[in-house]
């Protein structure tokens, strides 16, 4: 499975546009609550809707089984998060869900066959949302500035409130470290 041709560049442009609309500087961390407001999305913690015990039970059965979900109710968009997640992981989950909204992905359905629910998903759209979510949190100009400062994934993760895995992934796959190195020579 691969992303459509030009998707990564388009994601960078879109992330830049949204950050511009929010009046953010190139090096600023993305405030997800402000982006939610900007997109007209309501963020809701899962334990505001159901007992926290139920979320904990699912987590005990399988770690990371449920992270987040987007519902559209009478034209309003709600992103429901799992309160058991760390702040960094929560940021990835929320950015992933926002990506679905920004990319205008149709809602997939959880379907039931003889009482057994099955998750339906469009693997291409999930991959796009994951890639775009990462770009929203850590766009290339932000990474480039950090790399020029000599910051690595650890500093980027701490500054931007994302997981080390996310910072490492974006830092390595965008090639900013090599680019910054070349410029400094």
């Amino acid at each position: 499975m691969t992303l459509p041709r030009g998707f990564k560049a388009k994601a960078e442009r879109e992330a830049e546009r949204l950050r511009g609309e929010l009046g953010l500087g190139a090096a600023a961390a993305l405030p997800l609550d402000r982006l939610a407001e900007h997109l007209g999305v309501t963020l809701v913690s899962g334990d505001e809707l159901v007992d926290r015990d139920r979320l904990e039970e699912i987590e005990r059965l399988q770690a990371f089984a449920f992270s987040a979900a987007t519902f559209i109710i009478q034209g309003r968009t709600f992103v429901v998060t799992n309160p058991l997640r760390s702040p960094g992981r929560l940021a990835s989950d929320v950015a992933h869900e926002f990506a679905h909204t920004i990319l205008n992905h149709e809602l997939a359905e959880v379907r039931e066959i003889d009482g057994v629910p099955f998750r339906t998903c469009l693997p291409d759209e999930e991959e796009q949302a994951t890639a775009f979510g990462g770009t929203l949190l850590l766009p290339r100009p932000l990474l480039m500035l950090a790399a020029r400062r000599g910051d690595g994934p650890v500093e980027i993760a701490a500054d931007c409130g994302v997981t080390l895995e996310m910072a490492r992934f974006r830092y390595n796959t965008t090639g900013v470290a090599r680019q910054a190195e070349r410029r400094s020579v």
């Binding site: 159901v50 987007t70 519902f71 559209i72 009482g115 998750r119 998903c121």
Partner: protein
């Protein structure tokens, strides 16, 4: 193409092992045989990790489940109805009557049954297998351990209901 596990027999009360979704893993393992996990996953059209986890007893997402059923040569419905409790279908009743008719030879009843099966398969309206529980974008594990899908299904259903109630309440203000 390698033969599927399904031998094509119609399920009949008592003499066919009951299948359910938890047995998917065992059947997939049997069907794979000596084939490598990677090759079998490619043949079935699912990812390596999905194949591996399903063999370990986890439930795949709907697209993977459908692909695995096709690879096994089994209709998805066979994983749900307990055979011993399944009422006799009209086609099975008709074939039983024809087989028992003394006016027909074995060959004649087999020929009529075959025509009936073919016509039934073509003309009978397919049963809707699935109804949506809830529509949402879901960030969750793509393969779930036993017990998780049911709990997650009802959790999403209740979250949806709570949000509907919230919107209605806000609208009434």
């Amino acid at each position: 193409m390698t033969p599927a596990v399904d031998d094509g027999r119609e399920p009949r009360g008592g003499d066919v092992e009951r299948l359910d979704v938890s047995q998917l893993g065992r059947l997939v393992r049997e069907r794979r045989g000596a084939q490598s996990l990677r090759q079998a996953a490619a043949d079935a059209g699912v990812s390596f990790s999905t194949m591996s986890r399903v063999e370990g007893g986890a439930q795949p997402d709907l697209a993977s489940f459908t692909a695995l059923c096709a690879w096994l040569g089994m209709p998805p419905s066979r994983f749900f109805s307990p055979v011993t409790e399944r009422p006799q279908q009209p086609l099975e009743q008709a074939i039983a009557h024809i087989s028992a008719d003394p006016a027909l030879t074995t060959e004649a009843s087999a020929a009529i049954s075959s025509v009936l099966k073919e016509m039934y398969a073509t003309l009978a309206k397919a049963n809707p297998l699935a109804k949506p529980v809830v529509a949402c974008h879901l960030r969750a594990a793509s393969v779930m351990r036993p017990g998780v899908p049911q709990r997650l299904g009802s959790l999403l259903d209740d979250m949806n209901a709570a949000l509907v109630a919230r919107v209605a309440k806000e609208g009434a203000r």
